[in-house]
Amino acid sequence: MRDHAFESEFVAAMHEALSFILASVGVQNVQATATRARTSGDRWNEVTGIITYSGDIAGAVALTAPLATANAMVHALAGEMLSHESEDYTDAFGELVNMICGRTKAALRGENSISVPTVVIGDCTGRAAGLEGPTTVVLCESGLGPFAVEFAIRVRAAGLASSAKGAA
């Protein structure tokens, strides 16, 4: 069952984490421009980093960006231009996703763990990303270009469902 209060909490935590982590590598003006449910017509960007959550919540988060945005993000972290065909590129993009998801996790209630990141270059699918069930898409703009965060998270611990931070 979807928990809209928890989803709001998750989006707020994710947005704060995105802004903080990207600012730390010099990326300014990160803004969430729209939040909506994923539709079957939505396409994936060229570079997608995925992390799964387990514990009191379960599911997956994907940071998906067009190649130009992803290139700039990787450059910002690694301090050098890397080919998207190199292992270092997927390593750097995955590390960004790791830092963002780690910071998001710390802002949530409950005991949760995150996986090591997986990075897909090229076509991705919801199944490959571990996004099963209703998926929320947060469209973002940044100083480096557009990107999106997609997540399908469900609350497993009964105590969390009604006590999400900011819930009425």
Partner: protein, 122 residues
């Protein structure tokens, strides 16, 4: 100063290596997970370990527990995205000497290293 960097991200190891080089420490060994790190301990005898938490094969916490249970007292700084207070407590209880949350600046890491070594020497 012999330093062991343990992180599954080569990019993060490179960032840390550059910071350490700026401090004049260039005798650096790298490991991509806890199991590799354990193999490095005997041959490298590090004087400081910078340790990630979430890694494949063997994570940082398991490595730390094995290191301490073997009687090794090398100072360890956890360098991780695990930012919850409960995780910091868990790491310290397992034998971590200090804790650094990613991302960090060069100055922050330098300060944490100096603080750790000073405490360890006292």
């Amino acid at each position: 100063m012999r330093v062991l960097l343990v992180d599954d991200s080569k990019v993060m190891r490179n960032i840390q290596r550059k910071i350490l080089a700026g401090l004049g420490w260039e005798e650096i060994t790298e490991a991509a997970d806890g199991a590799e790190a354990l193999e490095c301990i005997a041959s490298h005898a590090p004087e400081l370990i910078l340790l990630d938490w979430n890694m494949p094969v063997m994570d940082g916490l398991e490595f730390l527990k094995k290191l301490r249970s073997a009687g090794n007292k090398t100072p360890v700084i956890m360098v991780t995205t695990e930012a919850e207070k409960s995780r910091v407590i868990t790491a310290v209880q397992a034998g971590a000497n200090n804790y650094m949350i990613k991302p960090f600046t060069a100055d922050q890491l330098k300060e944490r290293i100096e603080q750790t070594l000073k405490r360890h020497a006292a």
